[in-house]
Subunit: 339 residues, 2 copies
DNA sequence: CTGAAAGCGCTTACAG
DNA sequence: CTGAAAGCGCTTACAG
């Protein structure tokens, strides 16, 4: 009996099975791979027995090396503690698994240098594709993009050239938020966003402002509030300070994410401002927690659980040699449960 | 020039570098691995040039096969959409990375059959260790445990024999919750939990009840409310129905997780019960969101961001041939921000 | 100081 | 119907 104290690291290889069954490893390999009609029924049976007897499981390392495909895909995400990214990670993992791939997960903490470290490490792992969730521009990333590595960008577009993309239509989402507030006759709406640049923020804010203006409100009637840092919660809290005294709060505000909205809400609570009575808030994301903890929040819901299948579809099409494409995911407005 | 259109999948191997530099692959290998004093300075230089010129990056597949170590670790988590597990995943990933390992992430959706599929798939990937977050009992798992696969259980203990474990001291956490309520002179405290069995739930409830009783309150004065299903939010909401009419609500309740508490709170809100004024709630987890969205919630805080390093430490010690150990993480009470 | 060779586990054209 | 051999990329004892 072979030493099987450590399954998977143990020495159970094709050779073990071959010896046990008294055939060549070529024959075993064929049978393991279902090439079963090319062998005698008797041999097939004997090999199957042997496989069971020794507890054989194919070694993907050997396969990967030989077939030049690791069936590994890397996801580089900016911050897994963010529930939006966690949901995207979960749905992508499920979709990859279904397609027969395995997901390596990397948390870049939104740092370009770490992102580059990870890109290099993943190349060394011979991953077959890269899923970049809310990536940052970085020298390494530029390099990979230019060399045509199979990459799908999620939520944030590639900062370098045309690449596959899965995400919401941020402009449209911003417009939808504007419509909601304007339909409720709010005439000096505010918009709350991170000071730090990003295409997502830019587009959402733009979609919002353009629609407000298109509906006849002068640009200078839009109140803009931004906040520093990286945590959207803190950003919302800090940005809302611009509303200073209670009587200066706007009657309605759009926040570029639900988390920003939570931050704004906290300051409102501390300031005695009633949400949504005094100030209607509309966020973007449609977090499932809203129904439970933020019934005061209206949100433009993005179907993050459906990102996974789209991401895998785009990856597969890149592998098939097709050009990069974009999947803009639909949104829908989820009105506040409570007035 | 070699075809480098697909970095990492391209044909840039030791052989490429060797040819470019006019040396053997053995020499290149040594230099790549820092075995630099055994070669002439001139050769080292020439090889370094060649590495740059052809854009060489070592292939981990080859290394793994030869060295019999993949540097891959699998995490099987019950549900990544749960923020607690997302945080554990993030911290584990970071700690593994720091130790030079790469994390494959699998979401088992709390299903024993999927868990077994993943275990087998991961063995085929030749992972060197398994991190089981809130695992279920399953035949495959039993098998792996019995064969001594290097495994660390997180949050829920192994259902089979002694295994390494990282998690809170659930009994103590339950006691702490009891103390909080009793210190506030609540004499008929409630406890809210999932109907479905799990060691975590059992221990937290036990810790709570034992302490309540120890402090002189008869067991039958503890109001027990459970709810069906898998979502802790829904469980809390359903369980709180046991409190039926508003006047029947307890003056204090401990929920075995923050998410259960959110569910209870939703029903309270819908029923016109004021939290925490009418009913003090204490949860377990200490979600970072509490300060923002659930200022009414007191919570026994578990340091999930610190799980990662402990998990890796236990894994490393298993690799070193040491016996399984347990790391019980400390908790602290985070009182509600709002009264 | 450097290289040829063996071998990690696998698959596949080729020969018989 | 079956097997010997080559080779995927790598490292390492061994020989020179």
């Amino acid at each position: 009996m072979t030493d099987e104290s450590r399954p998977g690291v143990g020495p159970v290889s094709l050779a073990t099975v071959a010896a046990q069954a008294g055939v060549s490893i070529a024959t075993v390999s064929r049978i393991v791979n279902g090439e079963t009609r090319r062998a005698s029924a008797e041999t097939v049976e004997r090999v199957r027995q042997a496989i069971k007897a020794v507890g054989y499981h194919p070694n993907q390392l050997g396969r990967a090396l030989r077939n030049r495909e690791s069936r590994l895909v890397a996801m580089l995400a900016a911050n897994l503690d963010n529930p939006v990214m966690a949901t995207i990670a979960a749905s992508t993992e499920a979709a990859l698994r279904q397609a027969g791939y395995v997901m390596i997960l990397c948390d870049t903490h939104d740092r370009p240098d770490l992102q580059d470290d990870y890109l290099n490490a993943m190349r060394s792992q011979v991953v077959q594709g890269y899923v970049m969730v809310a990536s940052q521009p970085s020298p390494g990333l530029r390099d990979f993009v230019e060399r045509g590595a199979p990459m799908v960008f999620v939520s944030r577009r590639s900062p370098f050239g045309e690449c596959s993309f899965v995400g919401p239509d941020n402009i449209a989402a911003g417009s939808a938020a504007a419509d909601y507030l304007l339909d409720r006759s709010i005439e000096e709406p505010a918009v709350v966003y991170p000071s730090r640049e990003s295409s997502t923020t830019r587009e959402r804010v733009k979609g919002f402002c353009d629609r407000v203006i298109a509906r006849g409100i002068p640009a200078d009637r839009i109140r803009r509030a931004d906040g520093p840092g990286i945590s959207h919660l803190e950003i919302g809290y800090a940005a809302a300070q611009h509303f200073s005294a209670p009587h200066a709060w706007p009657r309605g505000a759009m926040c570029i994410s639900d988390q920003v909205a939570y931050g704004v809400h906290r300051l409102a609570r501390e300031s005695g401002v009633q949400i949504p009575h005094d100030c209607e808030i509309v966020g973007i994301d449609g977090s499932p927690l809203n129904a439970w903890l933020a019934p005061w929040l209206t949100s433009v819901e993005i179907p993050h659980p459906e990102f996974g299948p789209s991401i895998v579809e785009l990856l597969v099409s890149l592998w098939g040699g097709e050009p990069p494409r974009e999947h803009l995911m639909p949104h829908r407005l989820a009105a506040a449960l409570e007035r």
